[in-house]
């Protein structure tokens, strides 16, 4: 049994959209090479929280972070002004809610992250593309049409392509923002299997609306409500013996 290492430590995180106080005093530890799921009703701030990890909020005006997200082992605060958001995004990848491949070939989609990093040699890229597509369990389905447009793929395949694209850059943390909400049940179960597989190599944080999904894929679960973390712990415990009334009401479907 390997000891659980902490990959990221969130301390007193507050987040504001203009004057709107969205995340309130969040404290949490993200365990390395495990899946942590964020659950909670719509508008509770789970996606906002997730997008703090790769500084997506920096793309839009009037957003403000307070507090710290400490990335270990370097012990750097990735939301501080001194840290370049691009540096953060190079280390922490993201898969979005709706599959958003680029209108380019399958190959170019996966290779893009490496091109951004200045890798242009065809044989190096080919190797990485193959490895990433295998990692995203898509290789066998697309190996014969790697130079065909990504939009020819089905929705589920497109989402796995996006996962391959995020994997290609070898991230330390992989963020999933409701990755299956636009997919059918079969595609969903494929993605879930994939997530379980991926955690052997990468720390995963997943936002999900689907509580069964959280129970199936994650070791740790944080329940959020109105911008606060109400309860955090081992997934099994949260779903069987929640200590907070609010958590229990949510997971038993009394609201949300």
């Amino acid at each position: 049994m390997v000891k659980d290492n902490i990959k990221a430590e969130i301390r007193n995180l507050n987040f504001f959209y203009g004057t709107n106080h969205v995340l309130k005093n969040i404290n949490l530890s993200i365990i390395e090479k495990k899946v942590t799921s964020l659950i909670g009703p719509s508008g509770c701030g789970k996606t906002t929280f997730l997008r703090c990890f790769n500084r997506m909020h920096d793309l839009y005006p009037h957003n403000r972070y307070e507090g710290e997200i400490i990335l270990l082992p370097e012990n750097i605060n990735i939301i501080s002004n001194q840290i370049d958001p691009i540096e953060v995004r190079m280390r922490i990848s993201m898969v979005f809610q709706k599959p958003n491949p680029f209108p380019k070939t399958i190959f170019e989609n996966v290779a893009y992250g490496m091109r951004v990093r200045g890798v242009n040699k065809k044989n190096v890229l080919s190797e990485i593309v193959e490895k990433s597509l295998k990692g995203a369990a898509l290789w066998d389905e697309v190996k014969d049409r790697i130079d065909k447009p990504a939009f020819d793929l089905s929705g589920g395949q497109q989402q796995r392509l996006c996962i391959a694209r995020a994997l290609a850059t070898n991230p330390e943390i992989l963020l999933f923002d409701e990755p299956t909400s636009a997919l059918d049940p079969i595609a969903t179960s494929k993605i879930e299997e994939l997530i379980v597989e991926l955690k052997n190599n990468v720390t995963i944080i997943i936002v999900t609306h689907n509580m069964q999904q959280a129970a199936r894929v994650s070791e740790y679960t944080a329940f959020m409500y109105l911008g606060e973390i109400i309860e955090y712990g081992k997934t099994e415990r949260i779903f069987t013996t929640p200590s907070e009334k609010l958590t229990e009401d949510y997971i038993t479907g009394r609201f949300g």
């Binding site: 995004r89 209108p103 893009y112 091109r115």
Partner: protein, 302 residues
Amino acid sequence: MEDIKKRIKYNKSWNYFFLIIGLLSTFVGLFLLAVLFIDLIMDGHSRLTYKFLTSFPSRFPEKAGILSAWVGSFLVLLVTALSAIPIGVAAGIYLEEYAKKNWLTDIIEINIANLAGVPSIVYGLLALGLFVYFFKFGESILTGGLTLALLILPMVIMATRESIRAIPNSIREASYALGATKWQTVQWHIFPYSLGGILTGIIIGLSRAIGETAPIITVGALTFIAFLPSSPITSAFPFISFEWLFDPFTVMPIQMFNWVSRPQKEFQINAAAAGIILMLMTLIMNGIAIHIRYKFRKKIKW
């Protein structure tokens, strides 16, 4: 049941109504253009010879040609395209992707939209003061080309912005999430994906520029020119010359106007023939641009 059928019938009647209106509207445009073109051909076809294209204007209508006019139009348009396209596209990309959204960019946006509606003669006056008197470019091809560039710049900027706006934000986020800089996102995604729309704007702009007369007359294009600008390729080192930029010129619409204002019937025929050539020039230009756009759009599949 009867009620529903009645309702469907009623709803469909409006559907057919618009179908007919739409069809008629389409044909009005096509029909008028066809009539115009046929009329021009009937008037001018007798003068459409190779010699007409290779002769200078003359006071004898049967000897007169449009050599200096089409060469002038071509060169002026070249200057226009080379200056308006890079500046317009760069400005559009800057405003859409880089500039912060605040009251200042709002004012700039409104003003660019207004500039597109400024009468072309006003641009002519501005260019006369700026290019001819201030920069001392003279009554030259350079002045003419830059004047028309000013005229179509707002169109290029607006077309660029509109087609950039059509790109879903999820594409930008996908690119940034992989650690791309703004420029990398523009270079690999924003620019290639919006190129189709940008080209449409450029086509419209250049097609308007090629037919403009007023601002070109204002900056001092001549109406009668019996020589060509100096050649861009020379026999002596460095073999390339930009002297042609500073030569006097005329353009197709001015040549046409000059002929139309003559009393002799034969010159009217010349004007019609020049009109056909001008329309063909526009059509060829549009054809090339549509072809390029098609090739680009084929590569990008949403």
